[in-house]
Symmetry: C2
Subunit: 147 residues, 2 copies
């Protein structure tokens, strides 16, 4: 029987905190996006397309998701008039997803709210602590990716 070591227990506590904070951040993101008629997923897709129209496959690669996930979100954005597909002279299959004026204004609105929220929260945590956590999490992420 393999039991948890002391370190293993400390590590498990970290896992639970990551899950908890992740859930709270997602909820905060949805709350930030909601007044603009968006959700976290829709807002993030709009954010990518804001840098320039791109295909579903390109957005998926940038966001680290599958094409299918992005397609679903893109379809709903088009349905709601936030984005539209333009013909792509480079590739007949892959139309370019682009912001509509309505999508752009919704995105700007969320970005403003998000910045105020991030500035506020960031001000309540010591900068050194902030950097230390980010560093350790990055190391942990690399460790997890390596296997």
């Amino acid at each position: 029987m393999t039991a948890l070591s002391d370190r293993g227990r400390e590590f498990s506590a970290l896992l639970l905190e990551v899950f908890r904070v992740n859930g709270l951040l997602l909820a905060a993101g949805d709350e930030l996006a909601e007044p603009a008629g968006l959700t976290s997923a829709r807002w993030q897709v709009l954010g990518v397309v804001d840098h320039g129209p791109c295909t579903i496959a390109q957005v998926a690669r940038i966001m680290g998701l599958t094409r299918q996930a992005v397609r679903q979100t893109a379809t709903s954005l088009v349905r709601d008039g936030m984005a539209e597909f333009h013909d792509n002279p480079q590739d007949l299959r892959a139309k370019l997803l682009a912001l509509t004026p309505r999508g752009r204004s919704a995105l700007r609105q969320v970005e403003r709210r998000q910045a105020a929220w991030a500035n506020d929260l960031a001000g309540r945590i010591a900068l050194a602590e902030l950097r230390a956590v980010t560093g350790t999490l990055r190391d942990l992420g690399d460790l997890l990716e390596d296997r």
Copy 2:
């Protein structure tokens, strides 16, 4: 136009790391659970029921999920012979979810694998760092919960 402060940018970097590590942890959990015919969600429900049979509503409260989410997972566990519903003399509506021998052995198998995995990873990160990250994340979580 509200822009991100320096601290806000540092905070945003932390957000991305939390999302990344969360995704990697979920993937690792599914990988750990898969050989036993489980998933992260199914394994966690079994883990709760292992402490003693309880109703769907009780499991949901313990896990911080809705009854509906737990009901779905519980139904699939019962379908696969990992758990079963027993009549509850205290409440005619709320049957008690309990482990079957097969569910118990699957759970034990995952717990062994999970402990070895956690011990291994925990050994690669300094204990002080581990504690510091957990502490800061807990503070951040409390901050997020307060609003």
